[in-house]
């Protein structure tokens, strides 16, 4: 494919207890994680959660107040960005406007003092990989957003860095382009096997792209895991709510002997820890784990259809049961206002008053 | 390490800018013989200011102030309507007119001054406060128009429209809504016009003979070729410099907030 992967060392990245404060705000609060060689690692979270700051600390654009950054075990915390051999794709692409596309990709290689032949080889190969070989002679102002984004990627790839960092590279693209670019990124990363750390607020992107995801909120890491783990075993309410479209339904319940009572719904559970009895909990169930036709393991609940949002291929039904409104993802719209919902009891998530997950199984 | 370098440079910059000013101001209040002998003068006095005032700089100072104020008034009178038109009204040729006004400022004052002097001599405006005011206004006018036009442009239309909705007449809208909003900007423009006049030296020198402005008065001995004999004695130089920069300090202090606004958010990193 044009790249000699043998020359690029795959590198692991480790963060140990990184703290970064701005004035009175703690942007990054004791963050630690390790990214393995060749892994596609996503930092996911709402804006202001500290994910971009964390990325910039890895890049060397910011220095942490405390904690260490290690590349393959080497402490690079105080190494300036220019010596870290990373490739970065910025949110605004940062494609230098006063140079042609070719020079944008080539200049970092010139700085590295590569020979002209080598530079030309790499630039052409990188451009080929992201399909912009025909644009090399153009200036950035002549390119569309999607094309500029690919220039930024090509520039990072041609650099043949040890680590690839990406700061919300798809967020400025329109929806259609985003899906396309996402697929291309997956393909690219699998081929090149560069250790990649990717920041986004879009949970769909994270689920599709990541080998593992770190969900962040308010400067802290909520959970690190594969997309599957994050989705099916969210460690707290925040993660459960942030992941999944449409978002998870929450309603309140109280723990009783052998079961949890939510008023309209009573679910028997095994192995309830004794200390939990009498405590209030939050119960979560995803819209796609509720059905309007009977399912195995489904507990029936009667309610009234309030709104049916038509998404084209399916509906989001808002069903009211007393004070509680549950969103249900369904292929069909129920004929009548009175609906019976079937809640999949194996897919219930139980959260304590402190909003952390309680691991108990339904009976 | 980098931080240390940054603070060091910041300190050096401050030193570089402030030292000439502070030392001169200090010297202006010092007994001159003591000043000659010691690095830091030990005896201080106000007598040079008094003498300087009596020697005629008092008159020059007053004249500079008068001309400055008149310049502000005149350039406001002529320029604010134009600034309002450019800033708020839509009309054909607006861009060209803006450029033309800007172009007038490009014309060197040095070239204007001599013919003006010649003309003024004929019509009796030579060596008068009004004559100098006319020249200073010509210099300040383009600035006043440009500054006020951007100030007027920055008043959100909704505020004025709300006034219409609530039944205010055009004049009331102008005085009760627009004017208070533009007042700070206008004050800045006025100070700027005053400063231009206050600092201006070429036209002031050429257009006056006996009735000099302060800068012209300081420059006069050199201009008249009086050689070493006519040179201003040291203490008066210090005093003159000190007096001349007072408006500068005031203006810059006032303008600080506007500059930060103009420069956008104070840098990242």
């Amino acid at each position: 494919m044009g790249f000699c992967r043998g020359e690029i060392d795959m590198v692991s990245v480790e963060l140990q207890n990184i703290v970064k404060k701005y004035r009175n705000v703690t942007a990054v609060d004791n963050v630690s994680f390790k990214v393995d060689h060749g892994e596609f690692f996503v930092l996911l979270g709402p804006s202001g959660c500290g994910k971009t700051t964390t990325l910039r600390i890895i890049a060397g654009l910011e220095t942490p107040d405390s904690g260490r950054v290690l590349f393959d075990g080497r402490d690079v915390t105080n190494v300036p960005a220019k010596n870290r051999n990373i490739g970065m794709v910025f949110q605004s692409y940062a494609v230098w406007p006063h140079m042609k596309v070719y020079d944008n990709i080539a200049l970092p290689l010139q700085i590295k003092k590569l020979s002209r032949e080598e530079i030309e080889k790499r630039v052409k190969a990188a451009a080929q990989m992201v399909n912009i070989a025909h644009l090399l002679d153009r200036y950035p102002f002549q390119l569309s957003g999607g094309e500029k984004q690919r220039v930024a990627v090509a520039r990072a790839l041609a650099f043949e860095p040890n680590i690839l960092l990406m700061d919300e590279p798809l967020s400025n693209l329109d929806a259609l382009l985003r899906v396309q670019a996402r697929a291309e990124l997956v393909k690219l990363q699998k081929e090149l096997k560069i250790t990649t750390i990717y920041v986004t607020h879009d949970q769909t992107e994270a689920m599709v792209l990541a080998d593992r995801v770190a969900v962040m909120n308010k400067g802290r890491i909520m959970q690190i895991g594969t997309p599957d783990e994050i989705y099916n075993r969210p460690v707290n309410k925040f993660v459960a709510h942030f992941i999944g479209t449409p978002p998870i339904n929450f309603f309140a319940g109280t723990v009783e002997e052998g079961c949890i009572n939510a008023g309209f719904l009573v679910i028997p559970f095994k192995n309830i820890p004794p200390g939990l009895v009498g405590k209030k909990v939050t119960i979560g169930i995803r819209p796609n784990d509720i059905s309007i036709s009977p399912i195995e393991q489904g507990i029936p609940v009667k309610g009234k259809l309030v709104v049916a949002e038509n998404l084209g291929s399916e509906f989001i039904l808002h069903v009211a049961i007393g004070d509680v409104v549950l969103r249900v993802l369904s292929k069909n719209k129920p004929a009548k206002e009175e609906v019976t919902l079937y809640v999949d009891k194996t897919k219930l998530h139980i959260f304590s008053e402190e909003e952390t997950r309680i691991n108990i199984l339904p009976a | 390490m980098r931080k240390v370098l940054v603070y060091l440079i910041a300190f050096l910059i401050s030193l570089w800018i402030l030292t000439p000013i502070i030392y001169t101001v200090l010297a202006s209040f010092a007994d001159i013989l003591d000043y000659y002998q010691h690095l830091i003068p030990q005896k201080y006095t106000l007598k040079y200011y008094e003498e300087y005032w009596r020697l005629g700089v008092g008159d020059a100072l007053v004249r500079s102030i008068e001309i400055g104020v008149l310049t502000v008034l005149l350039s406001f009178l002529i320029g604010i309507p134009a600034g309002y038109a450019i800033g708020r009204l839509k009309f054909r040729g607006r861009n060209s007119i803006q450029l033309t006004i800007l172009f007038f400022r490009v014309l060197p004052i040095v070239v204007m001054a001599v013919p003006l002097a010649v003309v003024f001599l004929k019509i009796g405006l030579y060596d008068t406060i009004f004559g100098v005011t006319l020249a200073h206004t010509a210099i300040a006018l383009p600035f006043v128009v440009l500054i006020t036009s951007s100030i007027f442009a920055s008043v959100p239309r909704d505020l004025e429209e709300a006034g219409t909705v609530f039944g205010l007449s055009s004049l009331q809208i102008f005085t009760k809504i627009t004017l208070p909003l533009v007042a700070p900007g206008l004050a800045a423009a006025g100070m700027f016009a005053f400063l231009i006049s206050w600092n201006e030296v070429v036209a002031s020198t050429i257009l006056t003979y006996l009735n000099r402005t302060l800068p012209a008065a300081v420059l006069a001995p050199y201009v008249m070729g009086m050689g070493a004999a006519g040179q201003l004695p040291d203490p008066y130089r210090f005093a003159a410099a000190t007096i001349m920069i007072i408006p500068a300090f005031l203006f810059m202090a006032y303008i600080r907030k506007y500059l930060t606004a103009m420069w956008g958010s104070a840098g990242v990193r």
Binding site: G60, L61, P80, A81, K82, S92, A94, W96, P97, H98, K100, I111 | Y7, A10, I17, L18, P20, Y23, Y35, H38, L39, I78, P81, A82, A85, I86, L89, F91, F104, P108, V110, V111, M112, V114, P115, V118, T137, A138, L141, N199, V202, P215, V218, L219, Y222, V223, M224, F238, M244, I245, A248, F249, R256, L259, M262, W263, G264, A266, G267, R269
Partner: protein, 279 residues
């Protein structure tokens, strides 16, 4: 009727300004050109006749301009980069740095006289430190070359702030990420400066150069106060010939030369920067 007023209103409001400027700025300039060409031989030609003096004036004019302006530009660029750093007290230091914008050339000249006169700060400091036994003279005919140094220092001290204001505004508008990308991709300080900062600052540099050059040719204060009669530039010749020699024709001739030179240089700047623009 109301409609007609509305259409003509803007022009009414602007008219006084235009009329004023035409009478007080434009007409005198035409008059000056007229005076410069009048006389027998024309005043402009008379300038060349005293060739020694002419050479001297041109020499000193070029010398001061060519030394001062590039210095100011370079310092302004570095200062702009410097002030992008965040540090405590930055607002204050910025205020100090641009304070000279409001200071007149006459006041500036006086301040630097205080620094370099025989009883000035520099001399007294060096004597006090024991470095020199007697003061070093910077002013006077024999020391003309040293005076030039003081003049250059004064202009750099005072007018760099004007150039800086323009460049600093320009640098703020550059997307921070262009610099960060350069950081990430291994550029050192000088490489960033050469490949990213300066090219992206071109429009601001162009504006700053034009404005600065425009005014640089009209500076008389420091030349006269510090240099006395020993250093002559084009602008001081205007003042000299009018005030001392009472010859408005030659004064106009010099003034017109100033105008022509500034005009030509501005066109050159515009051309120079247009050629470099890629976007």
């Amino acid at each position: 009727m109301e409609q007609k007023i509305r259409i003509f209103l803007p022009y009414f409001l602007i008219l006084p300004t235009l009329i004023y400027e035409v009478f007080i700025s434009a007409y005198p300039i035409a008059y000056a050109i007229g005076m410069a060409f009048s006389g027998n031989p024309p005043a402009l030609v008379q300038l060349f006749q005293d060739f020694e003096r002419f050479k001297e004036v041109i020499f000193y004019t070029i010398l001061t301009i060519v030394t001062v302006i590039p210095l100011q530009l370079i310092i302004a660029i570095f200062a702009s980069i410097f002030f992008l750093n965040r540090f405590r007290g930055r607002e204050l230091v910025l205020y100090f740095f641009i304070l000279p914008v409001a200071i007149s050339e006459v006041a500036g000249a006086l301040f630097w006289y205080t620094m370099f006169s025989s009883s000035g700060l520099l001399n007294k400091l060096l004597i006090w430190l024991g470095v020199i036994p007697n003061p070093i003279y910077f002013f006077g005919y024999e020391f003309r070359d040293r005076t030039l140094l003081v003049i250059v220092l004064e202009e750099v001290w005072r007018a760099t702030a004007i150039v800086f204001t323009i460049i600093y505004a320009g640098i703020q508008m550059i997307n921070r990420e262009y610099f960060e990308a350069a950081d990430v991709f291994g550029f050192n300080f000088w490489q960033k400066l050469r490949y990213i900062t300066v090219p992206l600052l071109k429009p601001s540099i162009q504006t700053a150069l034009i404005i600065r050059t425009l005014f640089a040719f009209q500076i008389v204060g420091p030349i006269l106060i510090l240099g006395g009669e020993y250093i002559r530039v084009m602008a001081t010749e205007v003042v000299y010939w009018y005030s001392q020699r009472m010859d408005p024709y030659i004064a106009s001739a010099w003034a017109v030369l100033v105008g022509v030179v500034t005009f030509v240089l501005s066109i050159l700047y515009l051309r120079m920067f247009r050629a470099g623009e890629g976007a």
